[in-house]
């Protein structure tokens, strides 16, 4: 399915695996794809950076989201330390959804290739879940980012 992906979109998918592994995640999820996109040399990454979502900003937002979600059930935790898994994590459900939605978005717009922009629009599409909550924690308006990307 990756044959229609641009080089930067492919790089983002590969990088998302490293990001997930380094963060101690068992699977690659939508937030790891978005984090990987912030590190690409694309217009999409620049739009995200301008909205406050550079790599550092998004990482902090994700930590804030976890802290907030755990606090909602009265749990607080310090960072846990462990040696990373050797194998790359597999794509989790939310990441697979991003890839499927990116393809649909590209088809709907008549774009021949799937790039960082389509991946990002797909990751930002749902209004519930880890990604929109992290954006909320960072004070970033999801719909404005989608509008800026689509412009």
């Amino acid at each position: 399915m990756f044959e229609r992906f641009t080089q930067s979109a492919r790089a983002a998918v590969t990088d998302a695996e490293h990001v997930a592994r380094e963060m101690g995640a068992m699977t690659v999820e939508a937030e790891h794809l978005l984090l990987a996109v912030t590190g690409t040399d694309t217009r999409t990454a620049r739009v995200l950076h301008a909205a406050g979502l550079d790599e550092e900003g998004l990482r902090e937002a994700l930590i804030a989201e976890t802290t907030r979600s755990l606090a909602a059930v009265g749990v607080s935790v310090d960072a846990l330390h462990f040696s990373p898994y050797v194998k790359s994590p597999k794509l989790g459900h939310s990441a697979k959804l991003v890839l499927e939605r990116a393809l649909k978005i590209a088809l709907a717009r008549g774009d021949k290739h799937i790039g960082a922009e389509h991946l990002t629009l797909a990751a930002l599409q749902p209004s519930v879940g880890t990604v929109p909550r992290a954006l909320e924690c960072a004070g970033v308006d999801r719909v404005s980012v989608i509008t800026a990307l689509s412009a």
């Binding site: 976890t66 755990l70 009265g74 749990v75 040696s83």
Partner: protein
């Protein structure tokens, strides 16, 4: 003390489920490593987690070996 009660907004409750699953995985990685570094055996760790030896070994052995942890045979 951890007092788990339902948050007012289901969005917060569902997000807590996601965060707790992630936390459980990370806690397992950290605690299995701590036990093995302290000289526990695979059967002991498996028993304590309530899973098979094969399962715990398959999941954690490679990363602990890569990290240079001295593992007990039995």
């Amino acid at each position: 003390m951890i007092d788990i009660s339902s948050p007012a907004d289901p969005a917060d409750g569902l997000a807590a489920v996601v965060a707790l699953r992630r936390l459980a995985e990370q806690l397992e990685a950290a605690e299995v490593e701590r036990a093995m570094r302290a000289g526990w055996s695979w059967p002991e760790v498996a028993e304590a987690l309530g899973v098979t030896r094969q399962a715990v070994h398959k999941k954690h052995a490679k990363r602990l070996i890569a990290a240079g942890v001295q593992l007990r045979r039995r």
